[in-house]
Symmetry: C2
Subunit: 585 residues, 2 copies
């Protein structure tokens, strides 16, 4: 492995020119405008002061520009990871305390180190264990939880919890304390944002604005809502009327440093950090691959792990919290023409500038505006169509969606996703522990053998051919024994049994012992056991075992050769002339 | 399901006659003699008073005679389950306390209820997840732990713990307090038992004794050692010399009752009870099936679960602790000619008689004798040959043995077996997440397609046939995408890609989405994607999906038909005449 492959910037950096610079700069301006309100809002969602969201959108973007492989991916705070951060950090520290901020930084550091190690040791396949149904159920449930968690911000009441039961009961409990001015600000922000998203583009088009300009105005919409509600806040002195404002925040850029951690906190945050790493990676790589496919580019999953690792370590050093690639902003980045990861670095400069300029004004921003921003952003996450598709395709996949969704809603993000992964694995194991098997016969006029129940095929008396549709391993070894013995009992007068192994990809030691037991029992009944269509790797492993030495029959390359060999052997036997097998095949 | 099938006694009871009665009585006498010292010893191993071992060998045997399906299985206290009982109960109560005895009873009750529920709901397949390598590593490690735990009894010192580190450190710590008389009794018992097991039979044969009589004397050997050391105990007044004796025990048979339990204790013992149930069931069913095969009988696994459940509930009611079918005693029972489960009921009567007669004399029995009995009994459990066979056959299976063995030795029985099961499942998932795949070609003169790297086969330009040797599911969905795209990139000029699905037993929703993505990418490159050899159940599921509607190519019954169809299509195309595919196939 070339050291250069760890630094993709060395590759695209050499080809950088004025044209890519222009494309990247334009994309950076649009993404910066979009990212400002989102960064503030997601920090709040994570239980952190809003300026931390801006911090988490500076250094990480530069780190990804150096180590990332996607030209369009835009990293930063995202909704689901922010919710997971709140859930994890909330267990080790009280919200608002210094410890809480330190724990968020530690979580980003742990996640960064884990991602980087996974990349260096090429463990990207771990992400595969999040099946599509599990991801889909998890994202939908997270979207619902996040939207619900913002109801408090929109009503001006305090809510607690990171799962539906706690959230709903705390909303109900404090409903009487809702502040009417906050509700009004929230309602205005919410309706404006919804209108911007749904109608503004058409409305502008009716005025004859070119699509490009209209798109930019739509994307800048959330920032305009921020300025509008800031103006309202000053004009009507909303702070004095009980509307919760962001309040004074430290000015300037964050110090580059890491707080000190206790091993106790590290232990408590290790598992959440792992789950956040995997979820963040899956979310990010999906976006990156989708966009790369459109441009016929390749994404290297293991280098992406290293890139996201560096990104999160940078988030920790810059005083932020866990970040990853976001869907909406990456699409915007892509549409705006971002040509290289440099667009991300330019966005970072834009956010740094905004941080210096904005922080003095943030004091007057109503928190309800940020809550409205979050609610509108996460509505796209909620998608029940997977439930319908999964129900139609496979009840097992449907169960995985439902378990993940309700697990997450009722028990929280970490338990929910763990239940989903566990359920998918159990379903897979259960299915393979009771494999489909078919008695097969010859499709006339071919050398092809298929299920006697589904196809018009020829079989011959005395020979039973069983195709096992599964790798043979511990979970189905006993099942295999029962299957063969029962089939043999149901077909008296057998001389040969052929196990057609075209679908057997592994025979583990437990299954080998079961095959030995089957062979022994068949030998006692004077039946020869044959194997056919054994694959190379499986045959390699079997060679040299006791089983092959004791096998009553033989191992044949194809099912057809097995049948021919059995027929020839029979014809050669003086007692067995006139036997009809050869006529059939 | 017929109600009678739950009571196998109704079946064999009707055929009961004088001949089976005689066989059963003889077997019962031999097993009774063998069971007495073992019952006392295993109760001690479980941390319970020795008479509890006798209690656990009465009612449970009668319950098994009613509900069990094996004619030869002898149930009662066994070594591994007794060790697991000690480990589980030791965590909730102090050894020797009333709570300890109650907890052991509760453990038997929970285990019995769980086994019975597993039987009624036909969940016997759960036991399949204990692979042969895991069982083998677990039994060997348990044997070592049990033997080590008896060193204290042989030296007359107290030891603590149920895993090697604690045991060894407590032996070393108390070594100075060893009692010389205990050591002598232990050494005599140990050497006598070893001599009985290894040499006595040959020695008796040299005196011309018939094999039958010699066998009975050998089997009675351990009881003779018990009487011998009792005599020594009285003659030399060993109790006064510091030798630990069994001491006064309650006379007579146990009361039939159940102590009261707290929900707290039930929660703490639920998981250990489940593990004990599964281990006990696997041990028992393996013995039962091995012996049944010799007599061409069938064992019903789900009825065995019900039988063992009833057995353990009976153990709880009779004041015992968890029991299961034991290997050595079942073989003895089988060899002695036990014809029906009634042999077990007669054994129960024998043990009940012994309990009434023996308990007054137990007071003078040195505990070292029982320790020696255990050590000799568990030596047969220790078997390192699996390690060698597994190493030769598969490194994955070897890893499972080693992880289970060292996990059990170092961390205890429950953690050890859980680690083993977890490791086997992970290995299976990892293997299937990176499946073997082969580019295939036609074996000349046949319709059979095999790996181009292993066989001399014909391929045709423009067509790439890939056989995927695994079910397609979430863990390898992404891998599949990479595989196909990389293969296509490595073979320029393709017009058709055929995925040969002979080994694909399932396509789950994640894999379906990956197939859609592959089809889309190939379409962009003007390559048609075909599937061949799709199995019935998989084809059923695919029919009606969007994927089939969008598929660039077709689904073919066999790989050969796919190749023919591609060739015909090409010949039909006016631009493509003279194309060499049809000549090859």
């Amino acid at each position: 492995m070339n050291i250069k492959s760890y630094f993709p910037i060395l590759d695209w950096g050499r080809r950088y020119n004025r044209q890519t610079l222009t494309s990247d700069l334009i994309a950076a301006i649009i993404v910066t405008i979009m990212l400002i309100p989102q960064s503030l809002a997601y920090a709040l969602l994570a239980g952190l002061p809003p300026e931390v969201g801006l911090y988490a959108s500076i250094l990480p973007l530069i780190a990804y520009a150096i180590f990332g492989t996607s030209s369009a991916l835009a990293v930063g705070p995202v909704a689901v990871v922010s919710l997971m951060t709140a859930a994890a950090v909330g267990r080790v520290a009280a919200q608002g305390s210094v410890d809480y901020a330190s724990a968020a930084i530690l979580l980003a550091l742990l996640s960064g180190v884990m991602l980087m190690l996974m990349g260096l040791f090429r463990l990207g396949f771990i992400a595969n264990f999040l099946s599509h149904p599990v991801i889909s159920g998890f994202i939908t449930a997270s979207g619902i939880i996040i939207a619900t968690s913002q109801v408090g911000g929109l009503l001006g009441i305090k809510t607690e919890g990171h799962a539906m039961p706690d959230l709903i009961s705390s909303i109900v409990e404090h409903l009487g304390q809702a502040n009417v001015y906050t509700v009004m600000v929230g309602a205005i922000a919410l309706s404006l944002l919804l209108w911007i998203r749904l109608d503004l583009k058409n409305w502008l088009a009716r005025f004859g604005l070119p699509t490009g300009v209209a798109t930019i105005i739509v994307r800048a919409g959330p920032v305009l809502v921020v300025f509008l509600t800031m103006a309202m806040s000053v004009l009507f002195d909303l702070g004095a009327k009980g509307v919760s404002l962001v309040g004074q925040v430290p000015q300037g850029l964050p110090m580059l440093s890491l707080p000190s951690f206790t091993t106790d906190t590290i232990q408590q945050l290790a598992l959440p950090a792992l789950i956040i790493s995997i979820v963040g990676f899956v979310e990010s790589i999906s976006v990156a691959q989708t966009l790369a496919a459109k441009r016929r580019e390749r994404i290297s999953p293991n280098q992406e792990l290293i890139g996201l690792g560096a990104t999160n370590i940078a988030a920790a050093i810059g005083g932020g919290f866990p970040v990853t690639g976001g869907f909406a902003r990456s699409v915007v980045n892509f549409d705006a023409g971002a040509a290289t990861p440099a667009a991300g670095a330019f966005t970072a400069i834009g956010i740094a500038g905004a941080t210096l300029l904005l922080t003095p004004f943030l004091a007057i921003l109503p928190k309800a505006t940020l809550a409205a921003t979050i609610v509108i952003a996460v509505l796209t996450l909620v998608d029940f169509s997977t439930l319908k598709r999964a129900w139609a395709y496979s009840k097992a996949d449907f169960a995985a969606v439902v378990i993940t969704m309700f697990g997450t809603l009722l028990l929280g993000v970490e338990v929910g996703i763990s239940l989903g992964v566990g359920a998918s694995i159990l379903v897979f194991l259960y299915r393979s522990s009771q494999p489909h098997a078919a008695v097969v016969g010859l499709v006339p006029g071919t050398e092809h053998y298929r299920n006697i129940k589904r196809h018009k095929v020829d079989t011959v008396p005395g020979v039973l051919s069983i195709r096992i549709d599964e790798s043979l391993y511990f979970a189905n070894a006993r099942y295999l024994e029962d299957l063969v013995i029962n089939q043999v009992a149901a077909n008296p007068g057998l001389t040969d049994v052929v196990l057609m192994c075209s679908a057997v990809n592994v025979i583990d030691m437990s299954a080998l012992e079961s095959l030995e037991a089957i062979n022994e029992r068949l030998s006692d009944l004077n039946i020869r056991l044959h194997l056919s269509e054994v694959k190379g790797p499986v045959a390699d492993r079997l060679s040299g075992t006791e089983f092959l030495a004791h096998l009553g029959g033989q191992v044949h390359l194809s099912q057809h050769q097995a049948m021919l060999a059995i027929a020839e052997r029979r014809l050669a036997a003086p007692t067995d002339d006139g036997w009809p097998l050869l006529k059939v095949i």
